[in-house]
């Protein structure tokens, strides 16, 4: 399998296929001198569920932060063709981020935490109430609006974090190994939740993970990255005939997908000393 590049131009007449993010030959050098990304190109289109998969240190989190507009690039360009660009040259309001940690404000209730993105836009609590409660309902937390983060389990905190990301109705959801710290059962449940949200809202997701199984289960496109310096090793679609649920997890098709992704990952690691 060769490294394939997604087409830059949208297919005519299909508005969902408009690219949301276009990275062209992006390199990123940290102030310590580490080259985190080298000559990385990636185009993500509306409606995709892309997994960035790779060994630790391959720059997948760095790539995600650059896509979010957090941090400059050292070389190359990044564009957000379908977003409004603000005075700082960053996309406004269309991108949400879910971190590996829930990253909640402990002094705010669940409601207050989900309110944050709207509050920063000047929407008051009363004006945002319906929207917040609706979003909390989509992650199953409508009964916990007044709870404080410390009262919630790890999985519930992560749901709050997802609700906060969704409350602005973004086009693009970036997730940086969001479920890595959770137990397997909670993780599978949240994977299903994310898939359901993806189906229901038509949101585009870029999902950073180091788990072959997670990426094969969730995504319809997988970008395998190579480390030192971080770059794209392989970029391929993952089509399935089945709907992704508990049956899919035990199917032959899923096994084959995992094997394919796993081989790609091994290839990417194979270039290194271990």
């Amino acid at each position: 399998m060769t490294t394939s590049q997604a087409p830059l131009m949208p297919a005519p007449g299909d508005s969902r296929k408009r690219p949301l993010v276009v990275m062209r030959s992006v390199s990123k050098m940290f102030s310590s001198g580490t080259l985190a990304l080298s000559d990385m190109s990636l185009t993500v289109e509306g409606g995709e569920f892309v997994s960035l998969l790779g060994p630790s240190g391959c720059g997948k989190s760095t790539a995600l932060r650059i896509i979010a507009g957090l941090g400059d690039v050292s070389a190359g360009t990044i564009d957000w063709p379908s977003s409004r660009i603000n005075s700082k040259g960053l996309p406004e309001g269309d991108i949400s981020f879910v971190f590996q940690e829930p990253t909640l404000m402990p002094w705010q209730t669940v409601f207050g935490n989900v309110h944050l993105p709207l509050k920063l836009r000047g929407v008051s609590k009363t004006a945002a109430r319906d929207e917040i409660m609706e979003t909390l309902a989509t992650v199953g937390l409508q009964d916990f609006a007044d709870a404080y983060p410390r009262e919630l389990s790890g999985g519930m905190k992560m749901r709050v974090s997802i609700a906060r990301a969704l409350v602005t109705k973004p086009k693009l959801l970036l997730m940086d190994e969001p479920f890595a710290a959770l137990d397997e059962i909670t993780r599978q449940k949240l994977n299903d939740d994310v898939l359901r949200l993806w189906h229901e809202t038509g949101i585009t997701v870029i999902f950073v993970t180091h788990s072959v199984f997670e990426s094969a289960y969730l995504s319809n496109r997988i970008v395998v990255m190579k480390a030192r310096p971080g770059r794209v090793h392989a970029d391929f679609p993952l089509k399935t005939s089945m709907s992704r649920d508990a049956h899919y997890r035990t199917s032959e098709e899923y096994r084959q997908a995992c094997e394919k992704v796993s081989n790609m990952l091994l290839e990417a690691i194979g270039g290194e000393e271990h």
């Binding site: 957090l70 603000n86 002094w107 009262e151 602005t168």
Partner: protein
């Protein structure tokens, strides 16, 4: 008790709860009463004269009879302490916000605040007395200088300890500097502020007393420190004890108020105010 706190809100039986509160109050009171009785007993048995060690009865007597002298002094000391603390809160928080605006500002100004802190207040009090328009103002400045540093240094620490991912999140949502300060940095440093407040409250009282010793002020507008010295010169030891008790009571009240404020602001969410669930 090990149940999920959301599903079963923590509510032990009313009786058990009240009993614990009752014991918590009764035990310290019993110990204090016991010590006072022991004190009176030792005085009576050994016949110790009042000018060396007065008994609790003599002290209580003095507290009652000299109330007209002690009360205004207590009021003066209280005022200086509270005013100094208020100024220290405003100054400490304000300067902390200023210092963390940039690394260069901090590099330039932080050493000055450290110098102010490490120089013993007794040593600069004479200077302040010369420059300040009145003794009251001088005392206020001294108490302020001492109380302000713990609030400043805690606040600087708090403002710098904000979760980096939350900062990223605020950046991502295009939050202004002002919004980041108001909605993220200030609430996130609240626990640090409360530590500073509790330390600063205690230090403000100590500094108010020490500064008055150093100032050697006298007359009608004097605080408890002057009444302490005066009683010592006159060998009126019961009154000295009475003044000392008033100072302790004032210190305890300030501590209780600042602790209550900290609890009121933090108990809903901060680890320091939570009971451990196991």
């Amino acid at each position: 008790m090990a149940d999920d706190p959301i599903l079963t809100p923590l509510k032990p039986g009313l009786f058990a709860r009240n009993r614990e509160t009752l014991l918590r109050t009764l035990i310290p009171i019993c110990v204090v009463v016991g010590l006072i009785l022991l004190w009176q007993f030792i005085i009576s048995v050994n016949g110790i004269p009042q000018y060396i060690l007065p008994g609790p009865l003599a002290v209580a007597n003095s507290l009652y009879n000299d109330w007209g002298t002690l009360w205004p002094a207590l009021w003066v000391t209280t005022q200086i302490t509270l005013q100094a603390l208020a100024l220290a809160l405003i100054g400490g928080v304000g300067i902390a916000i200023f210092l963390v605006q940039s690394k260069w500002i901090e590099t330039a100004f932080y050493p000055i605040t450290v110098i102010l802190q490490v120089t013993p207040i007794v040593a600069i009090a004479p200077l302040i007395l010369i420059y300040a328009p009145t003794t009251q103002v001088a005392l206020l400045i001294c108490a302020f200088l001492v109380a302000f540093f713990p609030i400043l240094s805690n606040m600087v620490q708090g403002l710098k300890s904000v979760d980096h991912n939350l900062l990223n999140l605020f950046d991502l949502y295009g939050a202004s500097r002002w919004q980041t300060l108001l909605y993220l940095k200030l609430p996130s440093s609240l626990p640090y502020f409360m530590t500073g407040l509790r330390i600063g409250g205690g230090l403000a009282l100590i500094a108010a007393v020490v500064a008055e010793f150093a100032a050697g002020s006298a007359g009608a507008g004097s605080g408890l420190a002057f009444r302490l010295l005066e009683s010592q010169y006159r060998l009126n030891i019961p009154r000295l004890f009475a003044a000392l008790i008033l100072l302790s009571v004032l210190g305890v009240v300030i501590f209780m108020i600042t602790s209550f404020i900290a609890w009121a602001f933090l108990h809903r969410w901060h680890e320091s105010s939570l009971k451990r669930e196991n």
